[in-house]
Structure formats: structure tokens, C-alpha cells
């Protein structure tokens, strides 16, 4: 096995997913299959290859810069309009710090 159920629980914690027990078992099986296929990359020697984080093509150095100027933005009502719970124009969440 490339990944144990214990590791699946750890990764689920990192990902903020409260997986059910039956999901943990199936996830371990699915991830194991995918990671086994991914092992294929070990056939390649990539020692002197630069990582490619973004699509590479010729462009001016400053091509992605834009003028910094004021512009209209969303109103407070619009910005929080899709939140499940708001209060006074703010997002409301369960209490974080106990008194």
C-alpha cells in the first residue's frame, strides 16, 4: 500500500474534510491506485530540468502589469450577499475564542 488509512485521516485533517469511516477506506484504496500510477514518473531523470509552474511563451517583461488606479468595487451588501450568515455587514462564524 502506498498510503494507509491513518495517513488518509491525517491528509483529510489538513484538507479540512470530515471524512466518514467508509469514505476513509475507499479513499485509501482510490489514492493508492492513483499514486501507484504516478510512480511512473520515477522512470524519468529530471535532475537538470527547470520546473514549469506556468505556461511559457515569449512576452514583454511588463506584459502583465496594469495601471494602478481607483475603480468602483463591490458594495458591502454585494460582497457579503452570498454568505450563509452575516451580521452588520460582516461574515458571522461560530465563536473562535472562549472567554
Amino acid at each position: 500500500m502506498k498510503i494507509t488509512e491513518q495517513e488518509v485521516r491525517r491528509v483529510a485533517d489538513l484538507a479540512n474534510l470530515a471524512l466518514r469511516e467508509d469514505e476513509v477506506a475507499r479513499m485509501a484504496q482510490d489514492l493508492d491506485g492513483i499514486l501507484s500510477h504516478i510512480d511512473k514518473l520515477n522512470e524519468l531523470d529530471v535532475t537538470n530540468v527547470e520546473p514549469m509552474a506556468q505556461v511559457l511563451f515569449d512576452a514583454e517583461e511588463t506584459a502583465t502589469l496594469r495601471e494602478d488606479r481607483e475603480r468602483p468595487s463591490l458594495s458591502n451588501t454585494e460582497a457579503v450577499g452570498n454568505a450563509p450568515i452575516t451580521s452588520g455587514g460582516y461574515y458571522k462564524v461560530p465563536r473562535v475564542i472562549e472567554r
Binding site: 474534510l17 470530515a18 500510477h37 529530471v46 514549469m52
Partner: protein, 479 residues
């Protein structure tokens, strides 16, 4: 009842409007009525937008009445994939989490097509957050292929492909991260275009894997798809990765003459393709030869590593992008959560479907401490090798042609139990996304069962023009 859009094109709609044969409002009303009547067969639309459509159509009619130019997409009924945000119009991303999400802004592509007189008639079903190859991962049920209702339309832009094939929209917008435009286009027998990365602004495209995501058009013909791309392409300051490369006049270049173009056949894409798909693609290559293309074999040696590299990079980026669905801002919060941590964990557990969870988990794993170098960094290096394969091939040829998918549309339910075989079926489309080059699917005939097969055409960065010239010449020669 046949579609009011049957036999129409972007060009003929414009001509019909200017000749007062019909009004944009009439066409919009008829298209909406037809879409409403036909949609239960395919489940391709999640939301119809009659009010928005009729307002846009009336504005086109008013311009024509006033003697103004009504725009390049005047009166054209357009559908938009539900991962592309539309102000005031529900945008679900195919997810239960966003079932009631009403965006406060429009995507740049949406703004541009409406400014050009386009009439958005609805939002189309898709795999949840564009993760899937069959449209079976939608929280709102699968889409059925209009050409074979027991089969999938492909994914993730299954709805956007199905509505064009079903003629409940003339053209549509989809998104492509690993083949999500080309594969459904091939399954539904229409044209689908993945432009160069950065050619179309991603502003307002719900992020799945930011370094791989594209917006692109579907049309019954290459011309219609090219006209749609013409309108949405070009630099947008709201997306720093959108490119400032000039956008040439695509339609003006479609003269049918592709004599002398050098076309490469990647051996790695044809080896082991001993099926009807292979036969149809090979027959299409013969047509290109007759049209005067110089066809030769080429090699893209790192192709066998593409699926592995892709599923590391795409899921790593997805795990970060999908972190925002945490119960705070986006409509849905678990009712059972009493602490902040439970709010995150339970909202996400209840909200995401299986495929999203699988990809969030894989992405989180490959980025986690101790695994970053072995997986993510390595995949980025392999991505570079794959991009280099294409760059080297394009020193010898002007275009590459290949299959789109190893097989035609499969039955609904046939592959859902086996995520890896589903991932592996993306092999011919994933490579183009990793390299960021333009690629499209154009129909190249039917199998004996009557299922469409797609021919993939791939060109250099920002050379959509050559891709369209080949596709258009092939369409004209094969019809």
C-alpha cells in the same frame, strides 16, 4: 418539432436580422421555448435565463432599428457553462455547495459576448467544479448525450457540448483544464476549441487549476467557434495571465487553402489505437493529404508521463483553489457545526461530491510536508519536458493532428467505479493543456454504432489561425 436554430449560423442570423426576416427577440423566444421543451431529454441546462436573454435580444433589435451595428454576435443564442460567473444569474459549478450562489459580477468573456450582441439563454450542467470526463459528477444529475441518450456527452463541459448538438443553443462557452472542451465536443459531434493559455481571460471562471484552466467556445462549425473566440479573446487587465498577443481576424483567413502546411502525426498517440476511432482519424489524415498537407510522423516521447504529471499539478492547484468553500462566504454552511473547525470540516464533507474530495485529498497529499519534492516539483519538471516535446515538434511541423479520446461516448455508469481508467482516458487531451498550446476537436465521422469521433488539431502558442484553417478546410472537404 425541429429547432428554430436548425440550419442557422452566426453569419446567417446576422443576415436574417439585418434583412428583417426575423427579430432577435423572436429568435430568443423560440430558442428559449425549444430549450425548455427539449431539456428534460438531456438535463443539459441547469438554469434558463429568459429575462436576461430577452433584454439582450431587444437591445439588438433596437440597434438595428436605429441603424447601428448590432455587433459580431448579434442575436445569437448562447449557453454558458455553469463554472463561468454571471451577475445576478445562479452559477452552481455543478456543486451542491453552490446550489444557490448568485454571483455579484460577470466574467470578462460573458461581458464581451454580451457587448457583441450575444444573447445568453442559460447556464449549462457540468461535472462538479469541472472535475470529470463524463458529466456524471454533477450534483444535479448527469447530462445525456443528445445523439445517444443512454450515453455520456463527455465532460466536464458536457452540458455546453450537448446544447449545441441538441440545437438548444447555437454556440456555447465551456472550460478546459485537461480536455473538458475537446472530449465532449468529440463525443457530441461538434467543434470545440481550447485556445492558447492566456488567450481568453479567466476572470470570472471559477478556479479549478489556475495554471491549466481555459475558457473556450463550442460551435456546430469551426467558423461559429472561431467567431465566438474572436469576440472573447485578448488581453484583460482583470487577469494578469491573460496575454497581450494580438488577435488576428480568424474568419478572413479561412480560404480553404492549406496546401503545403506541414502536419505531424505523433506516433505515441496512434500506437495501440486499433479501433474505429483510429480508422476515422486515419481517414481524416488522408483528406488532409489530398488537400495538399505534407504529413509526417513525429515523436512526443514524454506522452506516457502526462497523466501522472497532470493529476499531481491539477489536484495540487485544486486543493488550494477549493479551500475557499469553507462555510463562510459561499451560501452553504453545515447546520450541525458549533465550532469554527467543525464549520469548515462538516461544510466541506457535506458539500463536495466524491470526485472533488478525491482530488482535494490527492492535491493536499502531494503538497504535504515531505512529499512536495517527490511529487509536485517533479511533476512540474515533467510538465516542462512535455512542453519541450511540443516545442521541438513545432520546429518540424506547423500543426499536429491526433485523436481526441481513445474511444467514443460510453454508456452512463460504465466507468464511474474506476477513477483511474477515467483519468487515463484523458491522455490525448491533457498534454495540450500542460503545454498551454491551442488545440481543438473537429468532427471526423461516425463509428458503425453511429457515435461521433473527433479529430484533434494542435498548433503553436497563439497560432489558433492555422488550427482554424485546417479544421475549416477539412470540414468543407469532408462534407
Amino acid at each position: 418539432m425541429s429547432s428554430p436554430l436548425n440550419g442557422l449560423s452566426i453569419e446567417s442570423i446576422r443576415a436574417g436580422l439585418l434583412a428583417k426576416k426575423f427579430s432577435a427577440e423572436e429568435l430568443a423566444r423560440e430558442s428559449l421555448a425549444y430549450a425548455e421543451a427539449e431539456n428534460p431529454k438531456t438535463n443539459a441546462y441547469l438554469t434558463l435565463s429568459p429575462e436576461r436573454a430577452l433584454n439582450a435580444a431587444r437591445a439588438v433589435d433596437a440597434k438595428i432599428a436605429g441603424g447601428e451595428d448590432p455587433g459580431a454576435l448579434a442575436g445569437v443564442p448562447i449557453a454558458v457553462k455553469d463554472v463561468i460567473v454571471t451577475r445576478g444569474l445562479r452559477t452552481t459549478c455543478g456543486s451542491k455547495l453552490l446550489a444557490n450562489y448568485v454571483p455579484p459580477y460577470d466574467a470578462t468573456a460573458v461581458i464581451r459576448l454580451e457587448q457583441a450582441g450575444g444573447v445568453i439563454i442559460g447556464k449549462t450542467n457540468c461535472d462538479e467544479f469541472a472535475m470529470g470526463s463524463s458529466n456524471e459528477n454533477s450534483a444535479f444529475g448527469p447530462v445525456r448525450n443528445p445523439l445517444a441518450l443512454d450515453r455520456v456527452p463527455g465532460g466536464s463541459s458536457g452540458g455546453s457540448a450537448a446544447v449545441v448538438a441538441q440545437e438548444t443553443a447555437l454556440v456555447s462557452l465551456g472550460s478546459d483544464t485537461g480536455g473538458s472542451i475537446r472530449q465532449p465536443a468529440s463525443f457530441c459531434g461538434i467543434s470545440g476549441v481550447t485556445p492558447t493559455y492566456g488567450r481568453v481571460s479567466r476572470y470570472g471562471l471559477t478556479a479549478f487549476a489556475s495554471s491549466l484552466d481555459h475558457i473556450g467556445p463550442f460551435g456546430k462549425t469551426t467558423r461559429d467557434a472561431a467567431r465566438l473566440l474572436q469576440v472573447i479573446a485578448g488581453r484583460d487587465e482583470m487577469d494578469a495571465t491573460s496575454a497581450s498577443a494580438p488577435v488576428p481576424d480568424y474568419i478572413a483567413a479561412l480560404d480553404g487553402n492549406i496546401k503545403g502546411l506541414r502536419v505531424g502525426l505523433p506516433r505515441e498517440y496512434f500506437d495501440g489505437l486499433a479501433s474505429e476511432t483510429g480508422d476515422r482519424v486515419t481517414a481524416a489524415v488522408e483528406v488532409l493529404k489530398k488537400l495538399g498537407c505534407e504529413v509526417s510522423d513525429i515523436n512526443l516521447p514524454h506522452t506516457p508521463y502526462a497523466v501522472a504529471a497532470y493529476y499531481i499539478i491539477a489536484t495540487a492547484e485544486a486543493s488550494a483553489n477549493l479551500a475557499r468553500y469553507d462555510g463562510v462566504r459561499y451560501t452553504t454552511r453545515s447546520a450541525g457545526a458549533n465550532t469554527l473547525s467543525d464549520m469548515y470540516r462538516m461544510t466541506r464533507e457535506e458539500g463536495f461530491g466524491d470526485e472533488c474530495k478525491r482530488r482535494i485529498m490527492l492535491g493536499t497529499y502531494v503538497l504535504s510536508a515531505g512529499y512536495y519534492d517527490a511529487y509536485y516539483l517533479k511533476a512540474q519538471k515533467v510538465r516542462h519536458l512535455i512542453a519541450r516535446d511540443f516545442a521541438e515538434a513545432f520546429e518540424q511541423v506547423d500543426a499536429i493532428v491526433a485523436p481526441v479520446s481513445p474511444f467514443p461516448a460510453f454508456k452512463i455508469g460504465e466507468k464511474v467505479k474506476d477513477p483511474i481508467s477515467m483519468y487515463l482516458s484523458d491522455i490525448y487531451t491533457i498534454t495540450g493543456d500542460l503545454a498551454g498550446i491551442p488545440c481543438m476537436s473537429v468532427p471526423c465521422g461516425l463509428t458503425t454504432e453511429g457515435l461521433p469521433v473527433g479529430l484533434q488539431i494542435i498548433t503553436r502558442h497563439f497560432d489558433e489561425l492555422t488550427m482554424f484553417r485546417i479544421a475549416d478546410a477539412y470540414e468543407n472537404a469532408s462534407h
